[in-house]
């Protein structure tokens, strides 16, 4: 029974044990792995949710999280924990590699009428999949000969909503050439930019947890996966699992592109390394 006038003290510390339990829970659900180095960040986010859910203690919040069958609290806390940093034309040399080397190799093996399927996983607020779309339209001479599907997924439902919205600030678009900005974006007040509706409408955004094998099983016959700057937040075991899941999502001969500080060589031997003019990428073998 709530008593008016008296407010329960809001918990302000997370014990070592609570920290461990919480990290372990998040790790098992998402693959994201945090050490003591991230303690301050985690404690802060955790206490914020404890206060917002009006839990009487960290313990009781953890219980709420564990027994919430709707999954809504998990979603909220995961949204709070993810690092969503991204921008247009990030590591554009990989997009150059896509149009100059990867796609020509892929379509050589395709019949007319078959689709080219590219998956941005994780897509965060959409800069990556929209960059891919714009890059293809700008730089792939064959673009009109093929039907191209661009899929985009992330675990964080907040960033997916933002991605569907497609509105970006100046920082996010600063690497885009002026003409490209003019051609594919509509200028909004306060130096913000909205991606054109035709592009917005052509990309399918879905919530996917890479660490969930069942959710990943819904994606098959992909030609190229961009998996950039996510595995750095995982530990060894979940990186291996993610690599294995992606392998199963790809067509034989399909490619994975990782972020610049990431390498498959310490994760998995499933893929062949390929050196192209613009980038090092990983290919699912044919047999």
């Amino acid at each position: 029974m709530p008593v008016t006038g008296t407010r329960q003290a809001v918990p302000t510390v997370v014990t070592d044990d609570e920290f461990r339990k919480f990290c372990d829970f998040i790790y098992r659900r998402t693959g994201m792995s945090y050490g003591q180095a991230k303690r301050y960040f985690i404690d802060h986010r955790l206490l914020e949710r404890v206060a917002q859910t009006e839990s009487s203690s960290v313990q009781s919040y953890l219980a709420l999280l564990r027994f919430d069958t709707t999954g809504r609290e998990l979603e909220t806390i995961v949204n709070a924990l993810t690092v969503n940093e991204t921008y247009f034309w990030r590591e554009e040399h990989q997009f150059a590699c896509l149009t100059r080397s990867i796609l020509p190799d892929i379509v050589r093996r395709k019949r007319r009428g078959e689709r080219v399927r590219v998956w941005s996983l994780p897509c965060s607020t959409g800069e990556e999949p929209y960059s891919i779309a714009v890059w293809l339209l700008e730089h792939w001479p064959d673009v009109d000969h093929w039907d191209i599907e661009i899929l985009a997924s992330d675990i964080d439902t907040r960033v997916l909503a933002a991605a569907r919205e497609g509105v970006y600030d100046a920082r996010s678009v600063q690497r885009l050439p002026k003409q490209v900005l003019g051609r594919y974006f509509q200028s909004l007040p306060d130096d913000r930019w909205r991606i054109l509706d035709t592009l917005r409408g052509s990309i399918e955004f879905t919530r996917v947890n890479v660490a969930d094998r069942n959710e990943m099983a819904a994606f098959r016959d992909i030609d190229v996966i961009f998996c950039r700057n996510m595995l750095i937040y995982f530990d060894d075991v979940s990186r291996r699992e993610a690599a294995e899941s992606m392998f199963a999502c790809l067509r034989p001969g399909g490619y994975v592109c990782l972020g610049h500080s990431e390498s498959m060589s310490r994760i998995s031997s499933l893929f062949d390394v390929r050196r192209y003019e613009d980038a090092i990428v990983y290919q699912r073998p044919f047999t």
């Binding site: 390498s263 498959m264 060589s265 310490r266 390394v273 050196r275 090092i280």
Partner: protein, 137 residues
Amino acid sequence: MTEDNVTPLRPGPAKRLLVIDDAALIRAYYRQTLEPMGFVVEEAFNGLEALEKALMAPFDLAIVDVNMPKMDGLSFVRKLRTTEEIACLPVLMTSTRDRDSDIAAARAAGVNLYLVKPVGEDDLRLFTSIMTGAEIP
């Protein structure tokens, strides 16, 4: 470690070595032994990482362990020999295994020289110099 008796290489562009071993201490041993002679040493943790590095920049010699995770030394050499851009890279293999059959398997894979671990400093310097065409200390 005394370094005064180390003969520097003859002048010219520094020879580049790719040292491939999963044990950090062994990579450090190679580095410490060979860097004072003027070699440039890059490290890789297993065969896959080595392939990546070899594809990104040219090397004069790979010094490869056999027993490594994800891609072992023999698989690395086989892959190397069938990868066009890097097929000619000379390989010195080091191994804890000393049976004739191990050595034959290494030769068949395309290894140029096989040494049984532990490789002493003098041998390491000598064979690295010979295989890179550097002046022999």
